[in-house]
Structure formats: C-alpha cells, structure tokens
C-alpha cells in the first residue's frame, strides 16, 4: 500500500517539472495563438547554456540561472520580433512550420557543438538529499524544490496576468490585437515580452531538467510532448489547470512505471486520452469561445 502512496507522491512531484515545461507553452499559445514546436528544444538549449556557464565559471547550476535567465529572455524577445512575429496571422500553419524547422535547427546546432554525449548538471550531495515523512515514505528535497518552484511561479504569473498593466496588455492583445493597437499597445513588443517570459520559465525548467536527468540534444521533442499533454489536459482557462495537467501526467507515469517499467510513458499517454475523452476542453476550459 505504502509503495503506491509513494508512487503517487513522486508522481505529483514529477508533475511539478512537467508543469514548468508546460507553463511557457501555455503562455505562448494563450497570448499569440502560436504553437511553439521548438519549446522542448529550448528547454534542452537552456540546459546546455547552463552547462556552459557552469563549466566556464565554476558556479553551481542554480547560481548559473543568474546568467541563463537573461540570456534566454533576450533570445526569446529577439526571436519573436525577428523571426516569429512575421509568421503570425489568421493562419495557424506558418508559425507551426517555422517552429518545426527551428526545432530541427536547434537540435542539430546543439549536436554540432556539444556532440550526442549525455550531459548532466551536478549539484553534489544535494541531489539525493531526502526528507523522511514516515518510516517507509521519503521525498527528495530536490524534486520538492522543483514542485514548490513550479507552484510559486504559476502563482506569480497568474498574478501578473490578472493584476498588472502588462497582464492586461497580454490579455487584450490575445483577445484582439488590432483593437489593442488603438489602446496604444504595440502588439509586436507585447508578443516579444510574452516569448521572453516563456523563455524565463524555460531557463528554469532547463536547469531543473539538467540536474534531474541526463540530457542530450535529442531529448527536446519528448519534453514538448509532455508539455503539450499537460497544457491540453489543463485546458487554457488557467495556469492552475496546466499544473493539474502536469500532476496527472506525472502520477500516471509513476503508477505505470510501478506496474511495469516499460509501461511508464504509455501510462501517461493513456491518462491524457482518458482526460480528453471525459473533458474534451480540458479541466479548466476557457470560459469564452473564440
């Protein structure tokens, strides 16, 4: 019995990481109706940027975020204004194709520069530190930190969206970019800021990913898939839905792995299909039609 509780608990914590993957994707889609196929590769790119910073300066992975976050944010802003904004329009296909191509470019550039070797960001003994909840039940400190970070970030971003002038500009631009311009909102700039914000989350997710598991240039697309499933299960009404989606995915994968190690990934996909069958619009759907 306790083993199952343990599986679920670890699954919830894993879900925090998936929610971090997914939140950036949800912001990008929510603000500019852009399906970013490169999202998973950006997470891996962030992990490699952190690796370079760590190896170059000798600081730990967490401290490296001081550099990785602004690098990714600026990269996101420039990419959005320079490459992605021109693809946006009534048709969803051009940005889809461009980010698909970009995904291949990022993967191959990383392969060219870093080779296909597996890499890891090391945080020493901290990595395996755990807290015993009961005699048979323990949670890792690091997974717990990831989960708490995800919750805090989602809370903060939800606050930005609901309470600040920038958040209103995000929502207004998402509703109607033409009328938003009549309010003095430069939609190109707002889109750039949304991508920058998404890549701040990607930077954090990338470092967490790199500490938690091995990574190499080819692992991006599967992170994208998890992120997608979390976003879709959550619905697009609220980022808390994205967190819930991530948790469902994490729990399903852990329970699957408990039944049979080969069943882990499949169990996540099955949970995704079940949620969609029951709630086609996700757990927290948008309340309005558009």
């Amino acid at each position: 019995m306790i083993e199952w509780v343990n599986s679920i608990l670890q699954g919830v914590l894993t879900g925090g990481l998936y929610a971090l993957f997914a939140t950036g994707l949800a912001i990008i889609f929510g603000v500019m109706r852009l399906v970013n196929i490169t999202h998973g590769d950006f997470i891996v790119l962030a992990a490699f940027v952190a690796l370079v910073v760590v190896e170059g300066t000798g600081v730990g992975p967490f401290v490296s975020l001081i550099a990785v976050i602004p690098i990714m944010a600026v990269f996101g802003y420039v990419l959005q204004r320079g490459v992605l904004n021109p693809t946006l329009g009534p048709d969803l296909l051009p940005p889809l194709l461009v980010t698909f191509g970009l995904s291949i470019v990022v993967q191959n550039l990383l392969l060219e520069v870093f080779s296909a070797d597996s890499q890891r960001l090391k945080i020493g003994a901290f990595e395996t530190l755990s807290i015993n909840l009961t005699e048979n039940l323990a949670v890792g400190v690091f997974p717990l930190i990831i989960f708490v970070t995800a919750v805090v970030l989602i809370f903060a971003i939800q606050l930005v969206f609901n309470r600040t002038s920038l958040g209103r500009a995000f929502r207004a631009t998402s509703d109607d970019p033409v009328t938003a311009q009549l309010m003095g909102i430069d939609h190109s700039h707002v889109y750039g800021l949304a991508m920058a914000l998404a890549l701040v989350l990607v930077a954090i997710a990338g470092v967490f990913l790199g500490v938690r598991t091995n990574f190499d240039p080819s692992v991006g697309p599967s992170r994208l898939l998890f992120a997608f499933e979390a976003v879709i299960m959550g619905g697009l009404g609220s980022l808390w839905g994205t967190l819930a989606g991530g948790i469902i995915l994490g729990v399903a994968q852990n329970i699957g792995a408990k039944i049979d190690p080969g069943f882990q990934i499949l169990a996540g996909h099955i949970a995704f299909l079940v949620v969609l069958a029951i709630r086609p619009n996700g757990l927290f759907p948008r309340t309005r039609d558009d």
């Binding site: 500009a169 929502r171 207004a172 509703d175 309010m183 909102i185 430069d186």
Partner: protein
C-alpha cells in the same frame, strides 16, 4: 489652425481603391460628422487616421505635425483615441479593466475612472462583469469611456449607433455635449444622419471614396444630403 488636416488622401485594400483624394480638415474644439452609405470609405478614413491602413497623402498632419505613416500604437499617445465600430471590447477583461486599458499610454489629462463612472453610472454597478456580458448600449458606454481614459484631444467615433435601439442611441449621444465641454474635438462617422447632423458643427458626406458634400448642416437641404448620400444626379 486645423487640429487635423488631410490633403489628397488615397487608400487601397490590395487592388481595391477605397479612398480617392480626400481633403479634410477639423479645427480644435470642432465636432465634424462624416456620413455616407455603406462602403463609401468612412471607416477606411478613420482607419487611416489611426494608422491601421496604409495610405498615401500630400498632407496628413495633426496638431501641426505630420503623422503620416505612424504606427497605430503610437497614435493614442498623441491624443487621438478611437471608439471602434462594433465597440470591440476585450472579452477577457472586466468592465473596469477595459476602461483602465484605455489609459495604457499614460497620457496625462482630466479623465479618470471616477469621471467616466460619473458620466455613465450604470457602468460602476457592473464594473466587475466581463465587458461582453453587458447590453449593447452599456458596451458602447464602456467603449466611449475606454477612449476617454486615453485623455484624447481628438475623439474618433465609428458608428456609435450601430445595432442599438433608437432610445439607447439618444442616451449615448447625450454624452457628447459633456465630452465637447472638455475641449475634446470629435470626428463622428455615422450612418444615422439625423444624429450626426444634430451634434455636428460641420458635415462631410462621402460617396464611393470621394467627398460629395461638405458644409454646415444648418445650411444643407435634405435634397442636397440625399443627393450627396445616394449619388443621385444633380
């Protein structure tokens, strides 16, 4: 001096030419109405002023400066605000947020949430509702309030009466004198000729992308207007 001066304005949508050499001027404090049938180019004219369509003109100046080719998002900061056709409230924003976002540019002036609520008390009761949950007339009030929050010198109103019951239209137009009293100049585009003629100091009639009649509404006969509006032979 004219607040808005336009000479020989032409505008295209692809191969389709919507405006053919419009000459237009609006003085500070003046209320000017633009009337005309559907497709006469009235909305295209407003979209030119707000920078939403590409156009060519010999002169396109506001407040003594050329604004030709300025980005749409730069225009509100200059003191030109727009009440768009069909209200175009932001569905994700509450009534109050819709009003607040009108002042996004932070242009200083006398308008505030309190003053807009003073002008349209019904909005205060519904401040936390989504903008689109309101009746058509109330939505139009939000759209006007949103534009006023930008503290404009020139307010552009596109089809204020569109889709509203006559009694509501009367309500909406009752707010116009109070806006004029603030020294705001108005450019009103209307299909409802009676409303337009009542509030306007001067009227332009558009017909198929050209100006067919211009002048003081008091000195125009119904026949003049009907001819200019519908394009009957003189």
């Amino acid at each position: 001096m004219s607040l808005l001066a336009v000479r020989n304005l032409t505008a295209f949508y692809g191969d389709f030419q919507a405006l053919f050499g419009i000459d237009f001027s609006l003085d500070e404090g003046e209320t000017v109405a633009v009337i005309g049938a559907n497709g006469a180019g009235k909305s295209t004219f407003l979209r030119s002023v707000t920078g939403l369509v590409k156009y060519a003109a010999d002169e396109f100046s506001y407040d003594g400066r050329s604004i030709a080719g300025r980005k749409a998002s730069d225009i509100p900061g200059l003191g030109i605000a727009m009440v768009p056709e069909g209200r175009k409230l932001f569905p994700s924003l509450s009534v109050e947020e819709n009003l607040v976002i009108g002042g996004y540019d932070g242009r200083p002036g006398t308008w505030s949430l309190d003053r807009v609520y003073g002008m349209f008390p019904r909005l205060k009761e519904r401040r936390d509702n989504p903008g689109t949950a309101l009746s058509g007339g109330e939505q139009q009030m939000v759209a006007i309030g949103r534009a006023l929050m930008a503290n404009p010198k020139l307010l552009l109103c596109d089809e204020l009466s569109l889709g509203l019951a006559p009694i509501i239209i009367k309500d909406i137009y009752e707010s116009v004198p109070a806006i004029k009293a603030e020294g705001v100049s108005l450019l009103i585009v209307e299909q409802d000729i009676n409303q337009a003629l009542e509030v306007a100091d001067r009227v332009y009639c558009f017909q198929e992308g050209r100006i067919s009649l211009e002048g003081n509404p008091a000195q125009m006969s119904r026949d003049d207007i009907a001819n200019a509006y519908l394009g009957k032979s003189q």
